[in-house]
């Protein structure tokens, strides 16, 4: 059973530049953890520390519960796929895949077997004699993956492996990746800035921001229960509406309308309301609460329209709403949202207000 963990990991360059701040993570056999966040959030640094390409200022890296912090990358039995694929340009595909195995002193026969196994999955058989320069982007990506697979490592590390592919190919390779890694059991840590990759591939997602883990959860919970304002705004496209609203009693004031806070809250003076554009719809008779507004921008996304609305009675407040493309509406629009799809955050701490109990 392999597993990988980091304990209280910290990387400090200067007092102000701290790419990784006291991070602890654990990935078990069969799990696929994605580190996601904006650039500069520390996700790549964390991955590189796990790989041994960088040294932490404090903290430990554990593989199979053994402290490997002081081991060289080559001694950690890991495999890594790089954004640029990092194939050796002067070696052909076979040599690229074999080079790490040869360094471990593996015999030719076993190397051949392993490469054959990997090729059954990746279909690289016709390319073995080619140099990387003669491969397409997608083929290079597969070779990079093959080079990782043949090592049968204790942990797979992938650093933005899809970023260099064009959009069309990316979707297909993403699906391939999912299948390939579901078929094996070693833990995978995957770094990306693309939330779709994070949501589709992972069993667990860690959202990182400014060196801190903001939330570590299943993709579903990251989406349905964002732990704070940052996660709420980072995950989901188009972005969640986040409105800072004053409260009157147990109601939040949004323009001319009132939205009742859940009973469990001690009514705060101010609150942040989060609601995803896909969770707002045009009100039908009997819906509550109602928000009236004026449409000022319509963006056609194909399968739906992204409609921007100024809320009546609070002209600075903008709501972005995702409406099905077969629907029509007037400039003056009345909207509604289901109370169970609303997210409430503390204005000061930006943390999610508790879901259960007071």
């Amino acid at each position: 059973m392999s597993n990988v963990a980091v304990k209280n990991l910290n990387k400090t360059y200067t007092a102000k530049v701290v790419p990784v701040r006291d991070t602890s993570l654990r990935v078990e056999e069969g799990e696929f953890l994605t580190l996601v966040g904006p650039s500069g959030c520390g996700k790549s640094t964390t991955l590189r520390i796990i790989a041994g390409l960088e040294q932490p200022t404090r903290g430990q890296v554990l593989i199979n519960d053994k402290d490997v912090t002081a081991l060289r990358p080559g001694d950690r039995n890991i495999a890594m796929v790089f954004q640029s694929y990092a194939l050796y340009p002067h070696m052909n595909v076979y040599e690229n895949m074999a080079s790490g195995l040869k360094l471990k002193g593996m015999g030719d026969v076993e190397i051949r077997d392993r490469i054959k196994d990997a090729n059954d999955v990746l279909g690289l058989d016709d390319l073995l004699d080619r140099k990387p320069a003669n491969l397409s982007g997608g083929q290079r990506q597969r070779v990079a993956l093959g080079r990782a697979l043949v090592r049968r490592p204790d942990v797979f590390l992938l650093d933005e492996p899809l970023s260099n592919l064009d959009a069309l190919l990316r979707e297909q390779v993403r699906a391939d990746l999912k299948q390939i890694f579901e078929r094996q059991s070693a833990p995978v840590i995957y770094v990306t800035h693309d939330q779709t990759e994070a949501m589709t591939l992972s069993t667990k997602v860690a959202v990182l921001h400014k060196g801190d883990v903001q939330q570590l959860d299943s993709p579903e919970r990251i989406y349905t229960r964002p732990a704070n304002k940052f996660v709420a705004s980072f995950i989901g496209s188009p972005q969640m509406n986040l409105l800072t609203l004053p409260c009157e009693g147990n109601q939040a004031v949004l323009g001319s309308s009132r939205i009742t806070l859940p009973d469990r809250f001690v009514p705060p003076p101010e609150v942040v309301l989060g609601v995803r554009p896909e969770h707002i719809r045009i009100a039908s008779p009997g819906d509550q609460p109602l928000v009236k507004g004026t449409v000022f921008l319509v963006e056609n996304l194909g399968m739906s329209y992204l409609v921007s609305v100024h809320v009546d009675g609070s002209e600075d407040t903008t709501l972005r709403v995702l409406l099905p493309s077969d629907q029509t509406w007037d400039q003056q629009i009345t909207l509604t949202m289901s109370p169970e799809k609303l997210h409430w955050f503390n204005v000061q701490t930006e943390e999610r207000l508790p879901d259960h109990g007071a």
Partner: protein
Amino acid sequence: MTSTTPQSSPASSTPSPTRPGWLSKQLILAIGAVLIIIFSLAPVMWELLTSIKTNEAITSDPLVYFPSWSQYTLQHYWELLVQNRFYIYIFNSALVAVTSTVLCLCIGSPAAYALTRLHLPGERIILGVVLVVTLFPYILLFLGLLEIVRAVGLANNYLALIIPYTAINLPLTILVMRSFFQQMPRDLEDSAKIDGYSTLGMLVKIILPLTLPALVTTGILAFIFAWNEYIFALTFITRESMKTIPVAAAQLAGTTLFDIPYGPLAAATIIGTLPLILLVLFFQRKIVQGLTAGSVKG
């Protein structure tokens, strides 16, 4: 002439051949190009012509620019190679230049790599010193080196040239190779580390094969500098059979005061410059690349 047909233009990337002033610009460029060629080649061509003229043609009045058939001769080359055994000097020059170039690459490129990627404390100071050292004229070094050469008993030993030549080319090698290493994608090295290469193994198996073009560039420059060096060769080598071409050729002029052997001298110049002209013809691009990387980016 106001013809309506567009000017039949030579293939060039000038955007609009019909623009006024275009023709005069091309004319100026053509004249400039011809002047540059004459400027660069004339002295060498004159040496070449002198080297294949008979003695009578060389000293005739008026001057013979283009000799008639009877005035051509290979006698000067024959004299030089057979009588003066000039091939010995060619061999010496080649031996010293090639050995020092190889040595310089072997020592310089690992150092350049370490100074590019391994975060050595004080690397900025080392690089600064290396940069300044490229400016030192050899005359500042020959006195101290002479003492060392005498103390160690290296006089009339090829090492007395090979070691200084290695050294004078080291700064350039380090600067040029460093500028190449800086352009190498870091992922490649990271990938090699994860594959389990040691730093040295990675250098030999991955990095140096990839920087082969840079090694060629640097090697050509080092070879040129070593082949051309004069003051050390003049000072540290006194045995006739070990001299290099520049020294041997220059002393040819000094041996006889009255009957200066113009023909053989010209032939010696041509023999000594020919390898370099060939290098330039084949590797022009690399030489320019190396020179600019070694000085501009440093």
